[in-house]
Symmetry: C2
Subunit: 340 residues, 2 copies
């Protein structure tokens, strides 16, 4: 059997018109639901012809004509990140609910691709774009020909709408929980902070809270590249443990990826979370409950974030030119045995 049978030519609107013995215009009207101006019999004939030819309108032609493609795009830094995938699922649902198709663009952490995709999306005339975790400061980000919504604040203000976690609320919740649970020394471990507003907010809030509490030791460690600098990570953990000997210690990780790296480090160092040290993670990876005794996490309403980012975009696509807004959702603490 042979593959690739382009032989099946698709019927066009003209074919339908011919078969229904009418003009393309009426068919077009039928397609667009303007039934008020169609006689019952014509409508019937067209219906019949469409079914017979198995006709489906060509979206490309339609897009060209109407100037809107019903395509929207999601640009994300790293599709390996489960958080991003969750957001994507919410977004996807919203798209389908509204007749839009989602184009997923994975930057894959390669800076060059940011521009590449933005250009591409302009070339394809997408109706709108949702950007998650973009870092470029390129001027291309100004005056884009389509509306943009940002998931998580990541760059200097460009006047775009923002949807994301309420980092202040979430960090406060997590920090206070640890303190109330009797932890006396807390180290906050993060990846590169440059250009990533989300992480900055978490770090800053953490610092502020710790400072307000007397007798609590708070420390922040920033490691540029977790994949490369494993020894550095190990060293920081070790020296933290030594410095705070005798105190109840805990680690907070800024996101799921860091949590994985820290878990690996603790295994290497033979430090057991839930027993030798506390552990609390932003994001709620699926494996959080099977990793050792389980890891306490701060879960984000990812699905909702994805879904409502579409809603904001949709408003813009329909011509809403009002001031840029921020929609921040609260996080939820999922308590497991790493912090008991």
């Amino acid at each position: 059997m042979t593959n690739n049978r382009q032989s099946i030519k698709k019927a066009t609107i003209s074919d339908v018109a011919k078969l229904a013995k009418t003009g393309k215009t009426s068919v077009s009207r039928y397609l667009n639901g303007e039934f008020g101006i169609l006689s019952a019999t014509l409508k019937e004939r067209i219906e019949q012809a469409i079914k017979e030819l198995n006709y489906r309108p060509n979206q490309m032609a339609r897009s060209l004509k109407k100037g809107q493609t019903k395509l929207i795009a999601l640009i994300l830094a790293d599709i390996t990140n489960p958080y991003s995938v969750e957001v994507m699922k919410g977004l996807e649902a919203a798209c389908q609910d509204n007749g839009y198709t989602l184009l997923v663009c994975n930057i894959n952490k390669e800076k060059a691709k940011e521009k590449y995709f933005l250009q591409l999306l302009m070339d394809y005339n997408v109706d709108g774009v949702i950007i998650h975790a973009l870092r470029t400061q390129d001027s291309i980000l100004r005056d884009l020909p389509f509306p943009v919504v940002l998931v998580d604040r990541r760059m200097s203000d460009l006047g775009y709408d923002i949807v994301g976690l309420d980092n202040i609320q979430a960090t406060t919740l997590a920090s206070n929980y640890l303190i109330d649970s009797g932890f006396e020394a807390i180290i906050f471990i993060t990846e590169s902070l440059t250009g990533v507003g989300t992480r900055q907010e978490r770090v800053n809030t953490f610092k502020k809270i710790v400072k307000q509490q007397k007798g609590i030791v708070g420390e922040v460690v920033e490691i540029e590249d977790m994949n490369q600098q494993t020894e550095l990570l190990d060293q920081h953990i070790v020296s933290f443990c030594q410095k705070c000997r005798g105190m109840r210690k805990a680690i907070v990780t800024v996101n799921g990826s860091v949590t994985l790296h820290v878990s690996l480090a603790l295994k290497r160092l033979n430090i057991i979370w839930g027993k030798d040290i506390g552990l609390l993670s932003f994001d709620d990876p699926v494996w959080a409950s099977v990793a050792g005794v389980g890891i306490t996490t701060l879960r984000q309403p990812t699905y909702k974030i994805g879904y409502s980012s579409f809603e904001m975009l949709h408003r813009r696509m329909q011509g809403d030119h009002s001031e840029a807004k921020e929609y921040l959702y609260p996080g939820e603490l999922i308590i497991r045995d790493s912090t008991n």
Copy 2:
């Protein structure tokens, strides 16, 4: 500051032609790299005009005219599955290397969406489609207007190319490893087998190997819905342990998702892998090394699978009508402490 400034009208090929004082044809030739037929001065003028207007060709118009969109699509059952995401990354890289854009369609395990997406892709005239884990037996799958490549064999033979893991090699490798390591009773746990060729192949190979070995107890458990039937899973594990009391026991899980469920079950039952029972998982989830003592896995060459699925598709898109082929890649055993 206001968002959504569609005000910036994009320049068209006519604008460029006018500014360069020439016809659209020459501009088009320039765009398509046919420099052999362009005088140096004209080329120069066009180049200048394009830069000045910041012109970029409209892909929609181009697609309409040429009948090819440079769009290909990936249809997958569940984007939450890390295996699928890995495949996607390979595919994505291949697309970019060849100037194609990838459309990701997530079925999300909702059967109705399979047809929906296939229709959609026809409407958008994509050049080709890669299908991962589709289950429909709908006639729509025959005579599609674009070439198709299947990742993992999942349905009755439709004459499409197939790329995936060599399940026989992989299962043999895994099973023999367990037997050689001294395990005497092995239970193979899988999700629903109906319509999923990949899982069937793994199960069948497992059965065959176990039967050949004297003194080895082999058992297969199929659980339809892992999310709903957690008690059932627990029961099966418990009864297996009772039945095979005194023997060295191991569990094999058919994929990463099942591994997660089984890990959770073992935690509930307070059975410790690597000590009370062996555990070996198809797929290699990122968390395999932080779950308890670590989980031995059978890693698939996911990236390569994704990349080469594009290559096969590409050949078809260029008109190769030869017989459908199968490309199967071997798996690799990653040994951790769950099977020592």
